[in-house]
Protein backbone atom coordinates (compact mmCIF):
# COMPACT_ATOMS: atom_id res chain seq x y z
CA UNK A 1 0.00 0.00 0.00
CA UNK A 2 1.36 3.38 -0.89
CA UNK A 3 -0.02 6.74 0.05
CA UNK A 4 -0.38 9.49 -2.51
CA UNK A 5 1.88 12.51 -2.28
CA UNK A 6 1.35 14.13 1.14
CA UNK A 7 -0.06 17.59 0.91
CA UNK A 8 1.09 19.95 3.65
CA UNK A 9 -1.40 22.74 3.09
CA UNK A 10 -4.28 20.50 1.98
CA UNK A 11 -5.41 22.34 -1.15
CA UNK A 12 -8.98 21.34 -1.92
CA UNK A 13 -10.50 21.06 -5.34
CA UNK A 14 -13.11 23.70 -4.48
CA UNK A 15 -10.46 26.20 -3.38
CA UNK A 16 -8.64 25.63 -6.67
CA UNK A 17 -11.91 26.06 -8.56
CA UNK A 18 -11.84 22.51 -9.87
CA UNK A 19 -14.67 20.02 -10.25
CA UNK A 20 -14.06 16.34 -9.61
CA UNK A 21 -16.44 14.00 -11.38
CA UNK A 22 -18.19 11.64 -8.94
CA UNK A 23 -18.83 9.20 -11.78
CA UNK A 24 -15.52 8.94 -13.65
CA UNK A 25 -13.09 10.80 -11.37
CA UNK A 26 -11.90 13.28 -13.98
CA UNK A 27 -10.74 16.68 -12.71
CA UNK A 28 -11.94 19.60 -14.82
CA UNK A 29 -12.26 23.35 -14.63
CA UNK A 30 -15.67 25.02 -15.06
CA UNK A 31 -16.07 27.93 -17.45
CA UNK A 32 -14.97 31.23 -15.82
CA UNK A 33 -17.55 32.33 -13.26
CA UNK A 34 -19.64 29.16 -13.65
CA UNK A 35 -20.55 27.06 -10.60
CA UNK A 36 -21.69 24.10 -12.62
CA UNK A 37 -20.71 22.34 -15.80
CA UNK A 38 -20.55 18.99 -17.51
CA UNK A 39 -17.83 16.42 -17.35
CA UNK A 40 -16.10 16.39 -20.74
CA UNK A 41 -15.39 12.67 -20.40
CA UNK A 42 -18.63 11.13 -19.10
CA UNK A 43 -21.16 13.93 -19.54
CA UNK A 44 -22.14 13.93 -15.83
CA UNK A 45 -23.42 17.22 -14.41
CA UNK A 46 -20.79 18.62 -12.09
CA UNK A 47 -20.94 20.85 -9.03
CA UNK A 48 -18.52 21.53 -6.19
CA UNK A 49 -20.77 19.68 -3.72
CA UNK A 50 -23.71 17.30 -4.10
CA UNK A 51 -26.76 19.44 -4.86
CA UNK A 52 -28.87 20.47 -1.84
CA UNK A 53 -27.13 17.72 0.08
CA UNK A 54 -28.08 18.93 3.58
CA UNK A 55 -31.74 19.54 2.73
CA UNK A 56 -32.17 16.26 0.89
CA UNK A 57 -30.45 14.27 3.62
CA UNK A 58 -32.63 15.90 6.31
CA UNK A 59 -35.76 15.16 4.27
CA UNK A 60 -34.94 11.46 3.89
CA UNK A 61 -33.86 11.26 7.51
CA UNK A 62 -37.06 12.82 8.89
CA UNK A 63 -39.15 10.53 6.70
CA UNK A 64 -37.14 7.57 8.01
CA UNK A 65 -37.57 8.70 11.64
CA UNK A 66 -41.35 8.98 11.13
CA UNK A 67 -41.57 5.50 9.58
CA UNK A 68 -39.40 4.15 12.40
CA UNK A 69 -42.29 4.44 14.89
CA UNK A 70 -44.89 2.26 13.09
CA UNK A 71 -42.05 -0.04 11.94
CA UNK A 72 -41.41 -0.98 15.55
CA UNK A 73 -44.96 -0.77 16.94
CA UNK A 74 -46.90 -2.58 14.21
CA UNK A 75 -46.60 -6.34 13.71
CA UNK A 76 -44.46 -7.55 10.80
CA UNK A 77 -45.71 -11.12 10.69
CA UNK A 78 -49.08 -12.77 11.35
CA UNK A 79 -49.11 -16.47 12.17
CA UNK A 80 -52.37 -18.37 11.80
CA UNK A 81 -52.64 -21.80 13.37
CA UNK A 82 -55.50 -24.09 14.25
CA UNK A 83 -55.61 -22.52 17.69
CA UNK A 84 -55.73 -18.92 16.56
CA UNK A 85 -53.93 -15.94 15.10
CA UNK A 86 -50.87 -14.26 16.52
CA UNK A 87 -49.04 -11.14 15.34
CA UNK A 88 -45.43 -10.31 16.10
CA UNK A 89 -43.51 -7.06 15.96
CA UNK A 90 -39.81 -7.05 15.16
CA UNK A 91 -38.87 -7.02 18.83
CA UNK A 92 -41.22 -9.94 19.55
CA UNK A 93 -39.56 -11.77 16.68
CA UNK A 94 -36.20 -11.28 18.37
CA UNK A 95 -37.58 -12.64 21.63
CA UNK A 96 -39.13 -15.66 19.84
CA UNK A 97 -35.81 -16.48 18.22
CA UNK A 98 -34.03 -16.36 21.57
CA UNK A 99 -33.24 -19.91 22.69
CA UNK A 100 -30.20 -21.78 24.00
CA UNK A 101 -29.19 -22.62 20.41
CA UNK A 102 -30.78 -19.80 18.44
CA UNK A 103 -29.50 -16.80 20.41
CA UNK A 104 -26.71 -15.81 17.97
CA UNK A 105 -29.32 -15.39 15.21
CA UNK A 106 -31.59 -13.55 17.58
CA UNK A 107 -28.69 -11.22 18.29
CA UNK A 108 -28.10 -10.66 14.55
CA UNK A 109 -31.74 -9.66 14.08
CA UNK A 110 -31.61 -7.41 17.15
CA UNK A 111 -28.50 -5.63 15.85
CA UNK A 112 -29.54 -5.47 12.18
CA UNK A 113 -33.19 -4.53 12.67
CA UNK A 114 -33.31 -2.43 15.81
CA UNK A 115 -29.87 -1.11 16.64
CA UNK A 116 -28.52 -0.35 13.13
CA UNK A 117 -31.55 1.65 11.86
CA UNK A 118 -31.73 3.81 14.97
CA UNK A 119 -27.93 4.25 15.11
CA UNK A 120 -27.95 5.25 11.43
CA UNK A 121 -30.61 7.91 11.96
CA UNK A 122 -28.74 9.33 14.98
CA UNK A 123 -25.35 9.20 13.22
CA UNK A 124 -26.59 11.00 10.11
CA UNK A 125 -28.37 13.61 12.23
CA UNK A 126 -25.10 14.18 14.13
CA UNK A 127 -23.14 14.51 10.86
CA UNK A 128 -25.69 16.99 9.49
CA UNK A 129 -25.82 19.12 12.65
CA UNK A 130 -22.02 19.29 13.00
CA UNK A 131 -21.62 20.11 9.29
CA UNK A 132 -24.26 22.83 9.50
CA UNK A 133 -22.64 24.32 12.61
CA UNK A 134 -19.29 24.39 10.85
CA UNK A 135 -17.61 22.10 13.33
CA UNK A 136 -13.87 21.58 12.75
CA UNK A 137 -13.47 18.91 15.41
CA UNK A 138 -13.11 15.15 14.94
CA UNK A 139 -13.21 15.40 11.15
CA UNK A 140 -11.43 12.09 10.64
CA UNK A 141 -13.74 10.29 13.06
CA UNK A 142 -16.79 11.88 11.47
CA UNK A 143 -15.84 10.77 7.97
CA UNK A 144 -15.18 7.27 9.36
CA UNK A 145 -18.62 7.31 10.96
CA UNK A 146 -20.07 8.22 7.56
CA UNK A 147 -18.29 5.29 5.94
CA UNK A 148 -19.62 2.89 8.58
CA UNK A 149 -23.17 4.19 8.05
CA UNK A 150 -22.78 3.79 4.29
CA UNK A 151 -21.40 0.27 4.65
CA UNK A 152 -23.78 -1.30 7.16
CA UNK A 153 -27.06 0.23 5.93
CA UNK A 154 -27.95 -2.61 3.57
CA UNK A 155 -27.73 -5.23 6.33
CA UNK A 156 -30.88 -3.89 7.97
CA UNK A 157 -32.79 -5.45 5.08
CA UNK A 158 -32.12 -8.85 6.63
CA UNK A 159 -35.40 -8.81 8.59
CA UNK A 160 -37.39 -8.10 5.43
CA UNK A 161 -35.87 -11.22 3.87
CA UNK A 162 -36.43 -13.35 6.99
CA UNK A 163 -40.12 -12.42 6.97
CA UNK A 164 -40.44 -12.81 3.19
CA UNK A 165 -39.12 -16.35 3.12
CA UNK A 166 -40.80 -17.44 6.35
CA UNK A 167 -44.12 -16.37 4.85
CA UNK A 168 -43.33 -17.95 1.48
CA UNK A 169 -42.53 -21.31 3.02
CA UNK A 170 -45.12 -21.63 5.75
CA UNK A 171 -48.28 -21.85 3.68
CA UNK A 172 -49.72 -25.03 5.16
CA UNK A 173 -53.37 -24.06 5.51
CA UNK A 174 -55.22 -24.95 7.65
CA UNK A 175 -52.40 -26.32 9.79
CA UNK A 176 -50.25 -23.23 9.93
CA UNK A 177 -49.70 -20.21 7.72
CA UNK A 178 -47.61 -17.08 8.04
CA UNK A 179 -48.35 -13.79 6.27
CA UNK A 180 -46.54 -10.45 6.24
CA UNK A 181 -48.22 -7.69 8.29
CA UNK A 182 -48.35 -3.87 7.78
CA UNK A 183 -45.29 -3.12 9.94
CA UNK A 184 -43.09 -4.73 7.32
CA UNK A 185 -43.79 -1.94 4.82
CA UNK A 186 -42.75 0.74 7.32
CA UNK A 187 -39.69 -1.22 8.30
CA UNK A 188 -38.62 -1.62 4.66
CA UNK A 189 -39.26 2.12 4.19
CA UNK A 190 -36.89 2.93 7.09
CA UNK A 191 -34.13 0.86 5.50
CA UNK A 192 -34.58 2.38 2.03
CA UNK A 193 -34.93 5.95 3.31
CA UNK A 194 -31.82 5.75 5.51
CA UNK A 195 -29.87 4.31 2.56
CA UNK A 196 -31.04 7.21 0.39
CA UNK A 197 -30.16 9.66 3.19
CA UNK A 198 -26.63 8.27 3.44
CA UNK A 199 -26.27 8.50 -0.33
CA UNK A 200 -27.39 12.12 -0.51
CA UNK A 201 -25.05 13.30 2.24
CA UNK A 202 -21.82 14.79 0.89
CA UNK A 203 -18.95 13.89 3.28
CA UNK A 204 -16.92 16.82 1.92
CA UNK A 205 -19.24 19.06 3.95
CA UNK A 206 -17.51 17.68 7.06
CA UNK A 207 -14.26 19.33 5.96
CA UNK A 208 -15.53 22.58 4.49
CA UNK A 209 -15.44 24.56 7.75
CA UNK A 210 -11.84 23.48 8.38
CA UNK A 211 -10.93 24.35 4.79
CA UNK A 212 -12.26 27.89 4.98
CA UNK A 213 -10.58 28.42 8.38
CA UNK A 214 -7.30 27.44 6.81
CA UNK A 215 -7.90 29.96 4.08
CA UNK A 216 -8.45 32.74 6.63
CA UNK A 217 -5.37 31.86 8.66
CA UNK A 218 -3.15 30.90 5.76
Amino acid sequence: MSSSAPAESYPTAMQEGLHGCAVCGLISRPAPGAEEGRCPRCNEELAFRKRASVQRTWAYLLAAAICYVPANLLPVLTTTTATGTESDTILQGVVLLWSPTGWPLSLIVLVASIMIPSAKILALAYLLVTAQRGSVKNNTQRVRLYRVVEFIGRWSMVDVFVDTFTAALIQLQPLMSVAPAPGLLFFAAVVVLTMLAAESFDPRLIWDAANSKEEVHG
Binding site: T12, G102, T140, T166, L172, N211
Partner: protein, 223 residues
Protein backbone atom coordinates in the same frame (compact mmCIF):
# COMPACT_ATOMS: atom_id res chain seq x y z
CA UNK B 1 -21.53 23.56 -21.16
CA UNK B 2 -18.52 21.27 -20.87
CA UNK B 3 -15.76 21.92 -18.38
CA UNK B 4 -12.20 22.17 -19.61
CA UNK B 5 -10.29 19.05 -18.55
CA UNK B 6 -7.13 19.41 -16.51
CA UNK B 7 -4.40 17.91 -18.67
CA UNK B 8 -2.53 16.21 -15.82
CA UNK B 9 -4.13 12.76 -15.63
CA UNK B 10 -2.59 11.82 -12.28
CA UNK B 11 -4.33 14.72 -10.54
CA UNK B 12 -7.30 13.55 -8.52
CA UNK B 13 -9.51 14.63 -5.67
CA UNK B 14 -10.78 12.73 -2.68
CA UNK B 15 -14.57 12.47 -2.87
CA UNK B 16 -14.74 12.19 0.94
CA UNK B 17 -12.73 15.30 1.86
CA UNK B 18 -12.13 17.22 -1.42
CA UNK B 19 -8.35 17.08 -1.03
CA UNK B 20 -6.60 17.69 -4.34
CA UNK B 21 -3.71 15.33 -4.84
CA UNK B 22 -1.63 13.35 -7.28
CA UNK B 23 -2.04 9.61 -7.69
CA UNK B 24 1.25 7.74 -7.63
CA UNK B 25 2.10 5.12 -10.24
CA UNK B 26 0.94 1.87 -8.74
CA UNK B 27 2.06 -1.66 -9.33
CA UNK B 28 -0.79 -4.10 -9.98
CA UNK B 29 -2.40 -4.87 -6.63
CA UNK B 30 -1.15 -1.64 -5.07
CA UNK B 31 -3.52 0.94 -3.64
CA UNK B 32 -3.43 4.68 -2.96
CA UNK B 33 -5.16 6.29 0.01
CA UNK B 34 -6.05 9.87 0.79
CA UNK B 35 -3.44 11.21 3.24
CA UNK B 36 -6.04 13.33 5.03
CA UNK B 37 -9.08 11.08 5.47
CA UNK B 38 -7.72 7.64 4.56
CA UNK B 39 -10.25 6.93 1.79
CA UNK B 40 -8.97 4.44 -0.76
CA UNK B 41 -8.62 6.46 -3.96
CA UNK B 42 -7.51 3.78 -6.35
CA UNK B 43 -6.51 0.14 -6.26
CA UNK B 44 -4.77 -1.07 -9.38
CA UNK B 45 -5.84 -4.54 -10.42
CA UNK B 46 -3.81 -7.15 -12.17
CA UNK B 47 -5.28 -8.29 -15.53
CA UNK B 48 -8.51 -6.59 -14.49
CA UNK B 49 -10.64 -6.88 -17.64
CA UNK B 50 -10.03 -10.58 -18.36
CA UNK B 51 -10.57 -11.63 -14.76
CA UNK B 52 -13.71 -9.52 -14.42
CA UNK B 53 -15.04 -11.02 -17.66
CA UNK B 54 -14.44 -14.56 -16.40
CA UNK B 55 -16.03 -13.86 -13.03
CA UNK B 56 -19.05 -12.07 -14.46
CA UNK B 57 -19.68 -14.98 -16.84
CA UNK B 58 -19.52 -17.36 -13.87
CA UNK B 59 -21.87 -15.07 -11.93
CA UNK B 60 -24.34 -15.05 -14.84
CA UNK B 61 -24.46 -18.86 -14.93
CA UNK B 62 -24.89 -19.12 -11.15
CA UNK B 63 -27.57 -16.42 -11.20
CA UNK B 64 -29.65 -18.28 -13.80
CA UNK B 65 -29.43 -21.58 -11.90
CA UNK B 66 -30.20 -19.90 -8.58
CA UNK B 67 -33.42 -18.43 -9.94
CA UNK B 68 -34.56 -21.56 -11.77
CA UNK B 69 -34.51 -24.14 -8.97
CA UNK B 70 -36.10 -24.31 -5.50
CA UNK B 71 -34.23 -22.61 -2.68
CA UNK B 72 -35.99 -23.94 0.41
CA UNK B 73 -38.32 -26.76 1.17
CA UNK B 74 -39.97 -28.18 4.24
CA UNK B 75 -41.85 -31.27 5.26
CA UNK B 76 -44.29 -31.39 8.14
CA UNK B 77 -46.59 -34.26 9.04
CA UNK B 78 -46.43 -35.67 5.54
CA UNK B 79 -46.95 -32.37 3.76
CA UNK B 80 -44.21 -30.77 1.71
CA UNK B 81 -43.72 -27.22 0.47
CA UNK B 82 -40.92 -25.46 -1.34
CA UNK B 83 -40.16 -22.00 -2.62
CA UNK B 84 -37.87 -20.29 -5.10
CA UNK B 85 -36.43 -16.79 -4.82
CA UNK B 86 -39.29 -15.49 -6.96
CA UNK B 87 -41.75 -17.47 -4.83
CA UNK B 88 -40.95 -15.21 -1.89
CA UNK B 89 -41.84 -12.18 -3.99
CA UNK B 90 -45.08 -13.80 -5.17
CA UNK B 91 -46.26 -14.56 -1.63
CA UNK B 92 -45.68 -10.95 -0.54
CA UNK B 93 -47.60 -9.73 -3.59
CA UNK B 94 -50.55 -12.06 -2.94
CA UNK B 95 -50.68 -11.05 0.71
CA UNK B 96 -51.13 -7.42 -0.33
CA UNK B 97 -47.61 -6.27 0.47
CA UNK B 98 -47.11 -4.96 -3.06
CA UNK B 99 -44.45 -2.33 -2.27
CA UNK B 100 -42.38 -4.71 -0.18
CA UNK B 101 -42.72 -7.32 -2.94
CA UNK B 102 -41.36 -4.81 -5.45
CA UNK B 103 -38.48 -3.90 -3.12
CA UNK B 104 -37.52 -7.56 -2.60
CA UNK B 105 -37.84 -8.14 -6.35
CA UNK B 106 -35.47 -5.23 -7.03
CA UNK B 107 -32.88 -6.14 -4.41
CA UNK B 108 -32.58 -9.88 -5.07
CA UNK B 109 -33.63 -10.34 -8.69
CA UNK B 110 -33.46 -7.17 -10.80
CA UNK B 111 -30.44 -5.37 -9.30
CA UNK B 112 -28.20 -8.48 -9.26
CA UNK B 113 -29.17 -9.23 -12.89
CA UNK B 114 -28.28 -5.68 -13.89
CA UNK B 115 -25.11 -5.76 -11.80
CA UNK B 116 -23.93 -8.86 -13.70
CA UNK B 117 -25.32 -7.86 -17.11
CA UNK B 118 -23.94 -4.33 -17.09
CA UNK B 119 -20.56 -5.58 -15.90
CA UNK B 120 -20.44 -8.07 -18.79
CA UNK B 121 -21.31 -5.35 -21.30
CA UNK B 122 -18.81 -2.89 -19.77
CA UNK B 123 -15.96 -5.38 -19.88
CA UNK B 124 -16.77 -6.54 -23.43
CA UNK B 125 -16.90 -2.91 -24.58
CA UNK B 126 -13.72 -2.00 -22.74
CA UNK B 127 -11.78 -4.90 -24.23
CA UNK B 128 -11.88 -3.10 -27.59
CA UNK B 129 -8.94 -0.78 -28.34
CA UNK B 130 -11.05 2.31 -27.77
CA UNK B 131 -14.09 1.88 -25.56
CA UNK B 132 -17.26 3.38 -27.07
CA UNK B 133 -19.22 6.05 -25.20
CA UNK B 134 -22.07 3.71 -24.19
CA UNK B 135 -19.58 1.92 -21.93
CA UNK B 136 -19.36 5.18 -19.98
CA UNK B 137 -23.15 5.38 -19.75
CA UNK B 138 -23.26 1.85 -18.30
CA UNK B 139 -20.39 2.63 -15.92
CA UNK B 140 -22.41 5.57 -14.61
CA UNK B 141 -25.26 3.32 -13.52
CA UNK B 142 -23.29 0.31 -12.39
CA UNK B 143 -22.61 1.53 -8.80
CA UNK B 144 -26.37 1.96 -8.28
CA UNK B 145 -27.05 -1.65 -9.22
CA UNK B 146 -24.29 -2.67 -6.84
CA UNK B 147 -25.79 -0.65 -3.96
CA UNK B 148 -29.21 -2.25 -4.34
CA UNK B 149 -28.09 -5.77 -5.12
CA UNK B 150 -28.45 -7.56 -1.78
CA UNK B 151 -27.95 -11.26 -2.38
CA UNK B 152 -25.57 -11.59 0.58
CA UNK B 153 -28.12 -9.93 2.88
CA UNK B 154 -30.84 -12.23 1.56
CA UNK B 155 -28.62 -15.25 2.26
CA UNK B 156 -28.34 -14.22 5.90
CA UNK B 157 -32.10 -13.66 6.05
CA UNK B 158 -32.81 -17.09 4.53
CA UNK B 159 -30.50 -18.79 7.02
CA UNK B 160 -32.28 -17.10 9.92
CA UNK B 161 -35.66 -18.10 8.45
CA UNK B 162 -34.37 -21.68 8.18
CA UNK B 163 -33.51 -21.80 11.86
CA UNK B 164 -36.86 -20.27 12.81
CA UNK B 165 -38.79 -22.78 10.73
CA UNK B 166 -36.67 -25.71 11.93
CA UNK B 167 -38.58 -25.43 15.23
CA UNK B 168 -41.83 -26.50 13.56
CA UNK B 169 -40.83 -28.56 10.55
CA UNK B 170 -38.04 -30.44 8.81
CA UNK B 171 -36.25 -27.98 6.57
CA UNK B 172 -34.83 -29.12 3.24
CA UNK B 173 -32.23 -26.73 1.81
CA UNK B 174 -32.61 -26.54 -1.97
CA UNK B 175 -29.94 -26.45 -4.68
CA UNK B 176 -30.45 -22.71 -5.17
CA UNK B 177 -29.35 -22.07 -1.59
CA UNK B 178 -25.89 -23.48 -2.27
CA UNK B 179 -25.68 -21.82 -5.69
CA UNK B 180 -26.58 -18.47 -4.11
CA UNK B 181 -23.89 -19.02 -1.48
CA UNK B 182 -21.34 -19.43 -4.27
CA UNK B 183 -22.78 -16.45 -6.15
CA UNK B 184 -22.16 -14.18 -3.13
CA UNK B 185 -18.44 -14.91 -3.34
CA UNK B 186 -18.24 -14.75 -7.14
CA UNK B 187 -20.01 -11.35 -7.13
CA UNK B 188 -17.60 -10.02 -4.49
CA UNK B 189 -14.63 -11.27 -6.53
CA UNK B 190 -16.09 -9.77 -9.71
CA UNK B 191 -16.34 -6.34 -8.06
CA UNK B 192 -12.89 -6.68 -6.50
CA UNK B 193 -11.17 -7.55 -9.78
CA UNK B 194 -12.69 -4.58 -11.61
CA UNK B 195 -10.63 -1.40 -12.01
CA UNK B 196 -12.92 1.46 -13.14
CA UNK B 197 -9.99 3.85 -13.63
CA UNK B 198 -8.52 1.58 -16.30
CA UNK B 199 -11.81 1.56 -18.21
CA UNK B 200 -12.38 5.32 -17.91
CA UNK B 201 -8.95 5.97 -19.41
CA UNK B 202 -9.98 4.04 -22.53
CA UNK B 203 -13.40 5.61 -23.01
CA UNK B 204 -14.23 8.02 -25.83
CA UNK B 205 -14.97 11.44 -24.41
CA UNK B 206 -18.50 12.82 -24.36
CA UNK B 207 -17.15 16.21 -25.42
CA UNK B 208 -15.69 14.72 -28.61
CA UNK B 209 -19.14 13.51 -29.57
CA UNK B 210 -20.45 17.05 -29.32
CA UNK B 211 -17.52 18.30 -31.38
CA UNK B 212 -18.27 15.74 -34.07
CA UNK B 213 -21.90 16.73 -34.27
CA UNK B 214 -21.05 20.43 -34.47
CA UNK B 215 -18.53 19.59 -37.24
CA UNK B 216 -21.45 18.01 -39.04
CA UNK B 217 -22.44 20.39 -41.90
CA UNK B 218 -26.17 19.91 -41.25
CA UNK B 219 -26.02 21.13 -37.67
CA UNK B 220 -23.65 23.94 -38.65
CA UNK B 221 -26.16 25.13 -41.21
CA UNK B 222 -28.86 24.99 -38.54
CA UNK B 223 -26.83 27.23 -36.24
Amino acid sequence: MYNRPVVDDSLTLCLHCDLLQRLPDLLPGGSARCPRCDKELWRRRDDSLNRTLALSLAAAVLYIIANAVPMLGLTIVGRAASTTVLGGVETLWQDGQVLVAVLVMITVIIAPALQIGLMLAIVLGALRTSAPRWVGALMRHHPTTQTWSMIEVMMLGVLIALVKIADYATVVPGVALFVLGALVFVLAAMQASFDPREVWQKIEWAEDGVRHTTDDPASEAAS
